[in-house]
């Protein structure tokens, strides 16, 4: 990819403009002027900043050039105004001035609208599955992929899974109300709750009176409650909530410290349980550990079934990744799965996030998932921090590698045996640090920056000619980066 500028939606065409009306030779002259300018300023700068010039008018002794933005206009005028005038005068002596104008704002085509990130659930292909009773104001939409089928069961979560299935099959049965799921973030509690909702609703087909299910996060519960207070519609809010058969509240820990909302939740809870309705709650801690929640609420939360979701094991992580990769239809080498399962132990959300990134990257750039691309793409999560390399470290490493003394890096000795390693170290200092060349020179016995430039040129040349030398340098670079 070259240096370039312009809208990133599409490539800006190199304008082969033909000014309207007039001099048929004008386009040819303009092409020559641009060609000469490109020769003078170089390809990169031309492509980046100058190629967006358009010749818009030829007015007596004046040429008018248009640029897409005010910035580019000012820039081209300041840096190239005189040059362009001289080049034009070489074409046509009558020309006295080159003017620069900005294209009318808003003339550009609007960017094509992208589809939404995921089609809304009701348009999804799986029509056999009914959407839970529509309560747009109350419930949060359910994630399509969070079904029991997609839930990977292992030792750490099998008890919670069994409880969830049981409640989905027989809501509000004794001993299971409320169902309290707890565990660290991102371990699958939300997945289980959504799966229960899907399952409950899918059984509605055979029922005369359908079961209504409402799922929402505690955050949303609070948000709705506050909104209801503001709009003085708390009664409707309460009625809506208390009319459901199954109420699921995710991330209950969010209510800690929010006393009014807790109070409201407590009343809703009691009303529903008393009416024989099922409640499912999730949290990051067990009811007894939820300090900051009212005691009477904690007691009630703990009097049904409490199931914990444990941190994942390596085996479970591997199974999750395998299942997910299969669903995504992407071939992921087992070495990659092992790397991920080994490195990302915190939770399932992050584990899946990492795999998603790999898959998306592979699709976007048309490259297969390999151990190498994985390390590249997930660099930021696989490594806790990046190293910064100092010039001294580079000098030490290179000196060790070539078996010369550290002070030869700054000595005046010019024997090849020390001069070449010194050049290598300078080359790496340029690659791995952001020091300026004069600074690098100073660190090598106060050498001039032209010496550093020469060294870089020399090493680059040698690397091109000699593959084993290039490999050697690459090895050094990696060592320095991962040290």
């Amino acid at each position: 990819m070259a240096f370039d500028s312009g809208s990133f939606e599409q490539d800006v065409p190199v304008s082969v403009d033909q000014p309207s009306g007039g001099d048929p030779q004008l386009a040819a002259k303009w092409a020559r002027v641009r060609g000469r300018l490109q020769n003078e300023v170089g390809e990169v700068e031309y492509r980046t900043l100058l190629r967006q010039m358009t010749l818009v008018a030829f007015d007596e002794a004046e040429i008018i050039v248009q640029l897409p933005t005010k910035f580019l206009r000012d820039w081209v005028r300041t840096n190239y105004g005189d040059k362009l005038l001289a080049l034009w005068q070489a074409e046509d002596r009558r020309i006295r001035r080159v003017e620069f104008v900005v294209a009318n704002a808003g003339a550009a085509d609007p960017a094509p609208e992208e589809p939404p990130i995921a089609p809304p659930p009701e348009t999804r292909a799986d029509a056999s599955r009914a959407e839970p009773e529509a309560r747009p104001e109350m419930a949060a939409p359910l994630e399509q992929r969070f079904t029991f089928d997609n839930f990977v069961v292992g030792k750490p979560n099998e008890f919670a899974y069994a409880c969830a299935r049981r409640v989905a099959e027989h809501p509000a049965s004794a001993g299971f109300n409320p169902l309290f799921l707890y565990g660290g973030v991102g371990l699958g509690k939300t997945h289980l709750m959504h799966a229960m909702a899907w399952d409950l609703v899918s059984r509605n087909a055979g029922r005369t009176v359908p079961v209504s299910v409402t799922y929402m996060s505690a955050e949303k519960f609070m948000y709705r409650f506050i909104a209801a207070i503001r709009s003085q519609s708390t009664m409707e809010f309460k009625e809506q909530l208390r009319s459901v058969d199954v109420l699921m509240i995710d991330d209950l820990q969010f209510l800690i410290g929010k006393d009014n909302t807790q109070e409201e939740f407590f009343h809703t809870f009691n009303a529903l349980v008393d009416a024989g309705k099922q409640i499912v709650v999730s949290s990051d801690k067990s009811p007894s550990d939820l300090s900051g929640l009212e005691d009477r609420l904690r007691t009630r939360l703990g009097c049904g079934m409490v199931a914990d979701v444990h941190a994942t094991t390596f085996e479970l992580r591997i199974s999750i990744l395998e299942a997910k990769a299969t669903r995504a239809g992407v071939a992921v080498p087992s070495k990659v799965l092992e790397l991920l399962a080994h490195k990302i132990t915190s939770n399932v959300r992050e584990l899946e996030g990492a795999l998603n990134r790999l898959v998306a990257h592979a699709n976007l750039f048309g490259r297969p998932v390999t151990l190498e691309t994985t390390q590249e793409v997930l660099h930021d999560i696989l490594k806790a921090h990046d190293r910064k390399v100092t010039i001294e470290e580079i000098q030490r490493r290179v000196a060790e590698h070539y078996n010369i003394r550290m002070n030869d890096m700054s000595s005046a000795r010019r024997a090849r045996a020390v001069a070449r390693p010194r050049q290598v170290a300078m080359f790496l200092a340029k690659q791995l640090t952001s020091r300026s060349l004069p600074e690098i020179g100073r660190k090598f016995g106060n050498r001039d920056h032209t010496t550093v430039m020469h060294a870089i040129g020399r090493i680059t040349e040698l690397m091109e000619r000699d593959a084993s030398f290039a490999e050697d340098i690459e090895l050094l670079r990696r060592m320095l980066e991962s040290a």
């Binding site: 007596e60 005010k70 000012d74 006295r96 620069f100 104008v101």
Partner: protein, 374 residues
Amino acid sequence: MKLKADRATLIKALAHVQSVVERRNTIPILANVMIAVRDGRLTLTATDMEIAIVEDVAASTTRNGACTAPAATLYEIVRRLPDGAEVELDHPGGDAQLALRAGRYATSLVVLPVEDFPSMNAGTLPHKFHLPAVTLRAVIDRTRFAISTEETRYYLNGIYLHVAEGEGERMLRAVATDGHRLARVEEPLPEGAGAMPGVIIPRKTVAELRKLLDEHSGDVEVALSDTRIQFHAGPVLLTSKLIDGTFPEYERVIPRDNDKVLRVGKKDFSDAVARVAAISSERSRPVKLSLARDLLVLSASSPDQGTASEELDADRVKYEAGPLEIGFQARYLNDITDQIKEQVEFLFSDGSAPTVVRDAADSSALYVLMPMRV
């Protein structure tokens, strides 16, 4: 082309047009003035490609036609003719020379073809409004001193004329800055200016216009587009290109919260500045202002010439904020106080922050001055 005109009438018009002509000129025809007679009307035109000035001159004409002749030479000749002389200009056409006769004096001047004389195309000027000459004069005088002369920042080499939201009301605003100081003048928005774009009027145009305004009272018609501006003052039509650039976001450098207020008589202050600064040998002539309650001490020093100071006390200054020391260039202080009638009001923040200066009795002009770091 043939005509007769009063020397006095002619010299006045020639003075206007020749001042536009650049002294050092690489394009010969730009050193010329175009003299044209058409249907009994004589016009003189000069241009430097950036500015064109066209002036109607009262004359008795006997033949239509036009030619161009060296402006400076023509001006020098006419200037030296005796008062009250009648000048005859006669050009038979083509390459023939222009004959000038006055009494017993006669000369003939080499001409250049009229066809080669660049015409300045003003294009359409969609925005038109009128300003009294006295208003325009005041706007220019209170801003032009702050115009930058540093050429690389060309966008500062003029007065930025634009419409701005003043105190809840839309105003016509003129701003100039050289990066050290800034002058902002507001006038009620004249009819017809409401939709005008912000334009930067070049320094030279401002100077030429200002000269014309000395001789003109009544209204000036201003017409502009985003590339050209035109001033019609009596018999003179001045057309100019505008500076094609972006004026800085000057609002951002005008302090809003300066709360240390100093009031001092204009004459007391500027005289003291001049006396104190006289000691300084540096080009910038720094003057230090030391403020305490109702006391202003101005001081300056020079390593080779010594020190000077002058006190202005409660009789002459009013200052209630805490002690403050701040330094300014004497010239910058005087440029501003020159525009203030009686009472000067300074609003300070601290010794290194922009300072606001105003005429205590006139809120239409505001000046911002950057101090020196001592």
